[in-house]
Amino acid sequence: MAEILTVLIGFIGCGGLAAIAYFVSSYFGNKSNILEAVHKIKQKIGVDKIKELEEKEKVIVSVIKDKEIISEETKEKIEVIKEKANEDIKIILAEESFVELSKEEDELW
């Protein structure tokens, strides 16, 4: 009788330990799930922020490209100004009429 009781106590004890193990591991499991959710939210917020920053970068890149176009156009404009000036100066130097030269002077003054 005592032996049966010992075996029973032994089994009940083991069962109790198994139950404790189950609760402890499920406690850790729950905590892990919460952490995972927090981690996912943090990751999502971070990735969204990075996306937002990348959009800003795209705007800046387009601004830089626009400015590059403007500077190239300005360089071309300067070349045109120089060419036009050369043509005009050649005409002025070839001009023989004082009247025309005087008119030109009045315009340029």
Partner: protein
């Protein structure tokens, strides 16, 4: 026969579940941004025609040619006068070029400012990536710790159960 098939199917499913590794994490690919190098700017003004120095005729109040220091009037022929007008035209050209250069310089200043802003955003991005990295690392460490704790607990308790069962079995026998 049916039981055997069912057993094989169940075993295959179990094998699949156990052997399936989690999907590999592929990080976000940043957009490709490439800038061309800007060559140095050089303004060549030598191509603008420069007239020769004008030949001046100095005259006194009686309109007679005199040396420069005795002169009252300066007389220019149309060719010499044209040289002065050409210089005026050159002056106007330079004014126009200066205005265009202002635009050019400002476009470069805008580019520099935009690049400064870009650097600041890149820094913010690096900070954000750092936060994500730290967060992932911490999450991994936490998960690893819980996993190890879980393993230790489960192994300990299983060992206790096994030993307890053995002891109970020995006593029962």
């Amino acid at each position: 026969m049916v039981v055997k098939k069912l057993f094989v199917i169940m075993l295959s499913i179990l094998f699949l579940i156990v052997s399936c590794a989690p999907a590999t994490f592929v990080p976000r690919q940043p957009p490709e941004i490439k800038f061309e190098k800007t060559p140095p700017y050089k303004l060549d003004l030598s191509s603008i025609v420069k007239p020769e120095k004008a030949v001046k005729i100095w005259m006194n109040k009686d309109f007679k040619v005199v040396p420069e220091n005795e002169a009252k009037y300066l007389v220019l022929t149309n060719t010499e006068y044209a040289k002065y007008i050409a210089q005026l035209r050159t002056k106007k050209t330079f004014e126009a070029i200066i205005k265009e250069q202002e635009i050019l310089i400002n476009s470069y200043i805008d580019t520099i400012n935009a690049l400064k802003e870009y650097v600041a955003i890149e820094r913010a991005k690096a900070e954000e990536y750092r936060t994500l990295w730290a967060d992932s690392e911490n999450a991994y460490r936490q998960e690893k710790y819980y996993n190890e704790m879980n393993n230790i607990l489960q192994k300990s308790i299983l060992s206790v159960i096994a030993i307890g069962s053995l002891v109970a079995l020995i006593i029962a026998l």
